[in-house]
Each structure stands twice: as C-alpha cells, then as structure tokens.
Symmetry: C2
Subunit: 396 residues, 2 copies
C-alpha cells in the first residue's frame, strides 16, 4: 500500500493499539497532526441519529485554525447521550494538551459498534502513546490508515500531486469503510490532507463537490451510518496555487475522493464483484441518481451479480420502482457492453458470454433512457453469503 | 395445509403441470372459476415496469361480471413488449372458450422469470387440462395454490367464515410470494374469493383497505415486483350480508389478507426469523410506515437478526435515515419486550437473554416515539446466506 503515497508538507500521522478492539494487537487509535493551523471543512452523515464525535466535529467546522484529527476504531461513541458528547470533547482536549493546541482545533471521529461508552482509560493512555509515534513517512501514514479500520481488509490511502512552475502541491486522503455504506453520506470516515493554501470557505466548497461525486455515489448495503465523516485539512505549507489551477485543484481532490470511494467498494464486506452503474438520459442528475441507487441497493440485483447471472429483469424492475417516471419503451440496458433490453423489449443475447464477462468480477451496468441529457455514475458491490456471515456475527 | 380451508359457494379451483417449469412434474398452471358472475376488484404493483398480465387484468377491473382467474408460474411474461400483451390476452380468451365466458371476464396473472416469452403451446395444452381438473374440495384448492408457487416451500391458503342469523359467508384467499417482496404492492400474487353479494365498487374498497394493512406491510427484500396482484372475487352465492355486518366483512377480509401476508414472510426465501416491527407515537401513519419499512429493509438489521444479535444501534440508526424528522431523545426501543434504548440513551440489558429470545425465531421490535399517536405494524424476515444462495442461482 505504501507505494506512491506520502503525506503533504507539514503533516504527521501515527497509529497505535490501545486495546479498544477485542484483539489487543490491532491498531485502533489514529492521529493526524498539522504543524501549523489548517483551513478545515467537513461533510457529515445525514442520519438523524449521529455519533457524539459527529456532533462535536460538525459544531467546529468550517474553521481556519484546525490542528489535528483523532480517530478511534472499535467503538463509534454513537447513541451514547450526553456522556458520549463529554467523552468526545475530552478526547479532543487530551490531544490538544499533547500537541500544544486548543481543544476546539482538534477534530474527532469514532467508528465501530454503536451504543457503548468509550473505554476512557485505554484512550487516556493511548493518546500520549500515539502522539509519540507521529511521523512523516509512508509507514506512519499506513499505521494511521490501519488504525481506523473496522471490517476493512486493507488500509486505504490515495495521494495525488499537482505541479506547476516548479511547485508541487500534495493531496492525500485516507478512509475506512466496509459496511453501513450508503449515500448521504455514502460512508465511513475519511481525512483528506493537503498543503495547498486555501480559505476554510474554499475547503468547504471543495470537499462538498468531491463528496457528491465520490462517497455519495457508492453503496454497499444502503444503510446510512451514524458516524460518516469526510474532513479536508489544508495547512498551506506549499503555498497558494495560481488562479488558473483552481479547477485542477478541485479535480485533484475529486480524484482522491473518487479513488478512496472505489477502494471502499473493492473492499466491501464479503464482496466478490465491483459494479459500476451508469444511468444516462434523464431530465435531472437527481433522477439518474435515484435510479442508480435503487438498482445498486436491490438485494435481487446484487445476488444476480453474485451468481454471474444476466437476470436483467431484476435490473430493469429495480429502475421501475425508483420513483422516477418513465415508460418501458424509454429504457434500454446493457451489461458489460452487451445489449440485453432495448426500448422496452428483450434482445436476443448469448447468456454464457454475459455470464463469463460478469465472472471477471468487474460488472458494468448501463441503463439508457430517452428523457433528457443528465447522467450519473454509481459504484456498488454484490451481496454474498460472506456479507451475511460477517454481519450476523459482528457484535456480542 | 388442507385443514380448515374450503372454497366459498360456487367457486371451483384446479392446478396442472403443463411444463413451464424446468421440472415437468411441478404444478405451474392454476385456474379459479366462479359458476356465476362476480364483482371483482384488484390492487396491482406500483412498479412502472409491469408484466403484461398486470396491464391486461388492470384494464378490466373493477367489473361486475368476472368469471375466472388463470395464473401460471415459471414465467412472469414481464418486459416482453407487445407480444407479451397479446399472449396474456390469448390466455384469457382460451380460458373463456373453455368455461363459456367472454375473454374480458377472465383475469390473468403470471409469476416467474422476467423477460422471456410464454411457452404458448404448453399453455394451450394446459388450459383444457386444468379446466377438466376443476373441483370444489380442499384438495382442488391446494392444487391451485401449489400451481402458483415459485420458490415458495409451502402452498398458502386461508379461509375465514362470517356467520349471522343461521347464514354463513366464506372468504378464502390463496397467495404466493417468497422474494421480490416489498410494499406498493408488497407482493406476489393473491386471489381472494368470497360468496358474499357485494358491488364491484365495494369489492374495490374492501380489497384496497385489506392490502394497505397486510401485503403492503411486509417486506422480504425491498424489491417491488413487476407482477404483484391481489384480486378479490365475490360471486354473491351466499347472499347479501346485513348492513350491521359490513364492518365485520372488512375485518374478515383484512384478516384473510393479513394471515396470507404473514404466511409469505414465514416462507420468505432462506428466512430463519419472523420479525414483527411496531412503530408507535408518530404524527402520521405514513411517517410510522416509513420508519418501519426502512428498519425492515436494512441489510444490517436483517443480518443482526440472523445472528440473534441484539446489535440495537443498527435498528435505531436505520430509523434515523428513514426521512422522518425526530430527535434521539424522542426514541426508545425494545426487542422481545426487553428495553434496550430509552429516550436517546442506552439501557443496561442482559445481551444473552435478548439473544436467546431472538433465537426462538420470533422477533418483536418496538420503536416508540413521543411525537404523536399514529402507529403501524410491519412484518419482515431476516437475511441469510441461504437467501443469497437461492437468488444467486435462480435463472440461467
């Protein structure tokens, strides 16, 4: 994983096993610190039931003076009432004391089981320990990325560089997420760091745009989590970028977010197929999005994919209950570039050829309508017996 | 199954294996005939992509002169364009010729794989054969109920009787459904027959009310099918009912529909748990319904139930993304009468006791809000590796 990833200038990262997870050797506490104040913004879950860390971090953003993000895995500190909020605030104050900042300049995320109070003694010992392990190498970054994993099987880090006139700006994101993945927010936790100099208002607009095209376009199981958070921290250590590169900066951040979102789908719990759904030809992007998400969330679509089964009636019928008006004659479908359904009627096709194409593990579903010009691209995974096993056995 | 079930006066039923299914010995063609004209009404899928039989039957209802319902399993005749409609109309005309009726007085349903044309020769031979097998005994009724099964493991028939002043009226329903089960319509196919004398307008209002409290309150996988149909046929052979029994008639039909809907959930594909979800204390029934359905459709809720895991954060967080405004402090949760979450904060509970209660296979989730007086009751199943296996292997 460490190939080609690096921290932006002035950022340090670290990970530590403080014993929150059942296996005491598993990393569970991550810290990301900027040596200087950052412009920071965040996008959070739209669930009404949110974790205490979401409430605390959300209330502090956007801001110009953020210094650090602390993340524990193994316990989401969600549905824990006032005590949970006090615990999350205490985590930020403890980190602040360690790095010489104020508590309000520290952001906090937690991921893991819902409804249990944080083990404070373990975290109280863990924070000084992880602060001692901070560093700037890819190994430090990897340790931090591993510390935020729950059922993820691989750490997820993406770095992109933007260069111009001999200058280089770096954007690096980490994320976790393997279930409770659905749009608004689509996720999971992610921290994106950059050394670009921007305002917190710019940071907010950049991260919102990126999330709408990445984490909000993936779904594993349609379950919007209580803890979803994407944070962007920009410390400015590589300086401002020229005005003509502003849109390239957005594209770079979009690209990091999209690459991270796809890593989540590739590592979705129990998944055997990576599925890209393109919906074309709607009057609005929202309409295309609703159809894509409905197809992605159908258990029958997912299990057809699990079985490499070109049972296309499931795909078309899922579109039919998405709540977007269309006539069957407006709709055509292809799977891995092979047409299966055209303008409301079945097409003769070689079922074995489609099945073999699906068996590669990469499935591309294209639903084309004749109603307008708007499109959306969405990513999802299949639904396997292994997903069921993982989620039937997760707690207690 | 035949215990206690019977056909209402003047109805005959039959089933036949005409070779639509891969196994030529499996029943796949059902016929229900009234000797005299019936008041008839129906409720159909809300999917925009609907089977040809839905289009044909829907266009003929409500009516005062219905005589028969013909149903094949093994092929849904959906997504089959104009040819599919011609085939469905041909089925009704063929039945009409056999029983001495007009085609418009015959209703048609098909269930099975989507996107394949009907095997007309097999059905052409099958219709006279099933007509010869019509009869009035519970065995005839059972044969018809078996002929509409797809992945169902048991036939589903319910009879209720209403008696007053020495008179008896019978309401008997059959249904099928094991997946692609979600509200609007919640289902599946069902035919409910009665010998009560009512108008077709009454029939429409009775069936609509019953469906809203039964088939529209169940979900296996959240996938609204293309073929869902509930038909009510009333031939009047037991005469009119006294005005003071009208509401009892509604209750009787509701009860038949609810019992059939619960049979579908008990026979849901791969299911190991029967789950009842009660949502109380909302401002509107619609709000309660949205929360119940969102909890029921969550793969994480379902798999927690599969594992007998009182992982209640999944239940509460599913409510949180149902799109119904509430605060965490408004919400409490119990599972099998044991409180787990009260007014936004966790309750100490004996996880083993809850898990053992869930392991009985009967799970009762009660979500209580403090926002109003409206409630809803909803039924669902768990999500098992067996569901995945069944649906990854269903066609091709």
């Amino acid at each position: 994983m460490s190939q080609g990833v690096s921290l932006p200038l002035g950022f340090r990262a670290g990970g530590h096993a403080c014993g929150i997870k059942a296996d005491p050797h598993k990393l569970d506490l991550a810290l990301f610190v900027s040596d200087t104040p950052c412009a920071a913004a965040g996008v959070f879950t739209q669930n009404l039931v949110v974790g205490a860390p979401v409430k605390v971090s959300r209330s502090r953003l956007p801001r110009q003076t953020a210094r650090a993000v602390v993340i524990n895995s193994g316990n989401s500190n969600a549905c824990t009432g006032d005590r949970g909020i006090a615990d999350a605030e205490w985590m930020t104050a403890t980190v602040a004391a360690e790095i010489g900042a104020t508590a309000e300049d520290v952001l906090v995320c937690s991921t893991g089981v819902i409804g249990r109070f944080l083990p404070k003694e373990k975290i109280a010992a863990g924070i000084p320990a992880v602060a001692k392990k901070l560093g700037t190498t890819p190994d430090h970054l990897e340790a931090a990325a591993k510390s935020i994993m729950t059922t993820d099987t691989v750490p997820k880090v993406v770095t992109r560089k933007l260069t111009s006139g001999g200058k280089t700006w770096t954007v690096t994101g980490v994320c976790k997420g393997a279930a409770m993945i659905a749009p608004n927010m689509a996720t999971m936790l992610s921290v994106i760091m950059t050394d670009v100099a921007i305002s917190s208002a710019d940071a907010h607009s950049l991260v919102k745009h990126a999330v709408d095209r990445s984490f909000n376009c993936i779904s594993v199981d349609g379950h919007t989590s209580t803890s979803d958070t994407v944070l962007l921290l920009a410390n400015g250590q590589a300086g401002a970028i020229p005005a003509e590169l502003k849109s390239q900066l957005q594209t770079t951040i979009d690209d990091v977010a999209m690459a991270l979102a796809q890593l989540i789908i590739r590592d979705a719990e129990g998944a055997g197929h990576f599925v890209t759904i393109d919906v074309h030809g709607l009057l609005t992007r929202e309409a295309a999005f609703r159809i894509a998400k409905t197809v992605a969330d159908s258990a029958l679509v997912k299990t057809a994919i699990t079985g490499n089964d070109p049972n296309w009636g499931r795909f078309v019928s899922a579109a039919g209950y998405a709540g977007v008006p269309f006539r069957e004659e407006d709709c055509s479908l292809s799977v891995n570039e092979i047409p299966l359904y055209r303008e409301g009627a079945p097409v003769d096709f070689d079922a074995n050829a489609v099945s073999q194409a699906m068996a590669t593990g990469e499935v591309r579903i294209v639903l084309t309508f004749t109603l307008g010009k708007e499109s959306v691209r969405f990513w999802t995974s299949d639904l396997t017996a292994e997903y069921v096993r993982l989620n039937a056995d997760y707690t207690t």
